[in-house]
Amino acid sequence: MKAGNSSRPGKASGILNSGCTIPGVNLPNGCSNSGFALSSYGVRIAIETNEPGILKRIPEDLLPGATMAGSRKADVRFFISRDDEHAKGFALYEDRRPIAHARSLPQLLVTLEAAAQHAVARLCRKHVFIHAGVVRWKGRAIILPGRSFSGKSTLVLALVRVGATYYSDEFAVVDTKGRIHPFSRRPHVRTASGQKLRRKLQAASPDTGGKLPAVAECTVAVCKYKPCGRWKPRSMTKGETLLELMGNTVVARTRPEDSLKILAKLVRKSTAFKTVRGDVGESARALLMHVNSRTPGMKGTRL
């Protein structure tokens, strides 16, 4: 899928010309809004703009695993406009509400990516999205729940380097049967000198090309970073695990019944532990060793 490309498979059916006009935003002469719609986990997202050239610059992997949607009925509409009159730059609107403004388009597209992914997590009806990093290790999902800046992405990438399969560094997607699905977006790591590290990561970004299967069994690992922290895992009860997952669930407040029911299914067949971690490389190895030692049939397996 290449957004904005003339060879876009859904261009004929998916292109929008719905006239989603934004008051106060002037369209160029003789030009109407253009855009396309994507569907991810049942959520349809329309992206429109008053300048068709912008569409070509929207990244291919805006929404992981998304397909072109033919319908004009979108759950959320994003609109990108060039804003020359007010602050000179680009503005992003979500359902006609201004949500971001940036001087350059690449800056705004990163915000669009985050906003679109968040919209999918918020509006998806059949799955529950947990804010967590996820990898697959020998047929078992390892979920790393945590708030922003807790080092999820860093640990996920370290696990991938050791041999785990990348599923997500942002959301663990759980279906109604308690299985974990991938949400393989490009990994994001934030540091003070973020741009340099970002380029490095893109060069070493994990393979997300093939369709990854849903995983039924999982281990929940709550790892809190502390400089010079010692790896000391402590088992968590099912209740503690459910609390930890609920504390990172996107729709915990808006759909508490579904969240509790689905997460309880996940928790019943999972193991969980919490620990403090120090260096990410050592922690990744220790984590996989721990999972090996606690999983029947994987004891004594080498990394």
Partner: protein
């Protein structure tokens, strides 16, 4: 004291040995162990602490001290799972701790978290830009990303975040 459990606006999910309760009133999630659950399930406003201790003892097949039940009621009241009017004569946290120490029991019977808002349960700032939380849960780049002027630059001094926001047309009123 005859505690009365609050069972309105509550979602219950049972797990092996524990029960998780979502309180719709205040968006809190509680994890009750078996003792706290038995106390909460049987606190009907007619049973005293001694009655509840007998029920817990019968269900767990081991004697249960009144101090443990008082601690459970105390923690349930703090979690707002017990009606306030039924716990007027509730002991202070210090008294409960003292009694528990004398009885040689553990303390944590109810664990509580606050369920996050949708915006809290996601990464707000994937690029490392300085961003600010807005009251409606989404974010807006701060002047660093907004106008290319960092803190300390002359540009920054003449415009704060609020004034910069107004550069984008307010669509709600139009």
């Amino acid at each position: 004291m005859k505690p009365l459990a609050r069972k309105k606006d509550i979602i219950v999910e049972e797990l092996p040995g524990e029960t998780v309760i979502f309180d719709k009133k205040n968006n809190k999630v509680h994890c009750l162990n078996s003792i706290a659950l038995t106390v909460w399930a049987n606190a009907n406003g007619k049973r005293s602490i001694a009655d509840l201790a007998k029920i817990v003892a019968a269900e767990s097949d081991c004697p249960c001290d009144d101090a443990v039940i008082e601690s459970a009621v105390h923690q349930l009241a703090e979690a707002e799972l017990i009606e306030e009017t039924s716990t007027e004569k509730l002991l202070s946290r210090r008294d409960v701790g003292r009694k528990l120490a004398l009885a040689g029991s553990c303390a944590a019977l109810v664990a509580t978290i606050v369920a996050p808002t949708p915006a809290k349960a996601s990464s707000q700032d994937p690029t490392g830009w300085h961003t600010a939380h807005r009251s409606d849960g989404w974010f807006w780049p701060e002047p660093t990303a907004f106008n290319g002027a960092g803190k300390g630059s002359p540009k920054y001094q003449f415009g704060n975040r609020r004034t910069k926001r107004h550069h984008v047309p307010n669509l709600r009123n139009s």
